[in-house]
């Protein structure tokens, strides 16, 4: 289960940061997940819910922002979003430039799995 290992790394990193910052509770965590990662955000959320049970992260609001794909075409220099076609797997479009239809394209964005920020609560003494 791919999502489980990612969720595990994310929960660990968050609890670690919270501990270093003397948090007594985590209120919110914001993530960025690229469209092209082989990660399903709903499964990721579910796995995190299982893993954070019984921790100070348990009741935090989880926000997952999906990062759209951006490509650069080697041939015409086009930089931007890909075109999605309902008839093909959306990932297949990473292969073709929407401008010149060339298939030599580089992926600039969409492969991230990023923990952006967390909001924590601290005791007054530790603030």
């Amino acid at each position: 289960m791919h999502e489980l290992s990612m969720a595990n790394s994310m929960v660990e990193a968050i609890l670690d940061t919270a501990k270093k910052n003397d948090a007594i509770k985590i209120n919110e965590a914001v993530f960025e997940v690229g469209e092209l990662t082989m990660l399903n955000p709903e499964q990721l959320r579910f796995m995190m819910d299982v893993l954070r049970e019984g921790t100070i992260f348990e009741d935090a609001k989880i926000i997952i922002n999906m990062i759209p794909t951006k490509i650069e075409c080697e041939s015409c220099g086009f930089t931007g979003s890909i075109e999605t076609d309902e008839n093909t797997d959306h990932l297949m479009t990473v292969a073709t430039c929407p401008e010149c239809k060339n298939t030599r394209v580089h992926i600039l964005q969409g492969q991230e799995c990023n923990i952006k920020t967390i909001k924590i609560e601290k005791d007054d003494e530790n603030a």
Binding site: S5, L39, D123
Partner: protein, 217 residues
């Protein structure tokens, strides 16, 4: 009354793996070992290909055989009398750089020139995880269906060479091997693709020549 603070973490889990992969690559380079990450679905022919390569290649080969639970693949390689480290992921569907790092002390890097890392049978999850190998080979077989490449573009986008295996069975299963080659080339125009049958031996020498070429680069 508690104080609330917002903390920037900005930690990319995939990049964290890439950093470990870089460390693995450094280790391979220091030891002069050429490392290959071999990915493919369950039953695509990864282990059979390795058995064939061990028989046919002149190099000193070592293998890390990734598997979810069993030791079957490691045992098959062991029977070929080459050093093999079985690596069970337990529940994970892919190998990652961290697992490889932990397996490396059990691999005699001083005695081998090529290390094949047989990934867990899967075309999806391994796409996100760089292991630090010099070359990633994707092997798919005609029996998986000739739409396999277009259904899994990301694994081909990040690969360095591809093998379409079991071409001797194409007619029997109604698959078009040339379509599979064409799809792979659409996804990744520069990738060398070999049509192969481990049963008849077709394509095996071509695969060996490709590895030699990569090794010299």
């Amino acid at each position: 009354m508690h104080n609330v603070a917002s903390i920037e973490i900005e930690q990319d889990i995939i990049q964290a793996n890439d950093k470990l992969a870089y460390d693995n690559r450094t280790k391979f380079d220091e030891k002069g070992v050429f490392a290959v990450d071999l990915v493919g679905a369950v039953g695509s022919g990864k282990t059979s290909l390795l058995e064939k390569l061990i028989d046919e290649m002149d190099d000193d080969i070592g293998v890390i055989a990734g598997d979810i639970l069993s030791k079957f693949d490691a045992k098959r390689i062991e029977d070929k009398n080459v050093p093999v480290k079985g690596l069970n992921t337990g529940k994970e569907c892919h190998l990652d750089a961290h697992l490889i790092e932990h397996a490396l002390p059990d691999v005699p890097l001083d005695d081998i020139s090529i290390l094949f890392i047989e990934n867990v049978g899967n075309l999806i999850c391994p796409a996100d995880f760089n292991l630090g190998a010099h070359v990633r080979t994707v092997i798919i077989s005609v029996t998986e269906g000739d739409d396999t490449a277009e259904k899994h573009p990301m694994i081909f986008k990040g690969a360095d060479m591809a093998i379409v295996n079991k071409v001797d069975l194409a007619d029997a299963v109604g698959a078009d091997a040339d379509k599979m080659v064409k799809d792979i080339k659409t996804i990744n125009p520069d990738i060398p693709v070999v049509k192969c049958s481990l049963k008849t031996g077709e394509g095996v020498q071509e695969i060996i020549d490709l590895y030699k070429k990569f090794q010299e680069q």
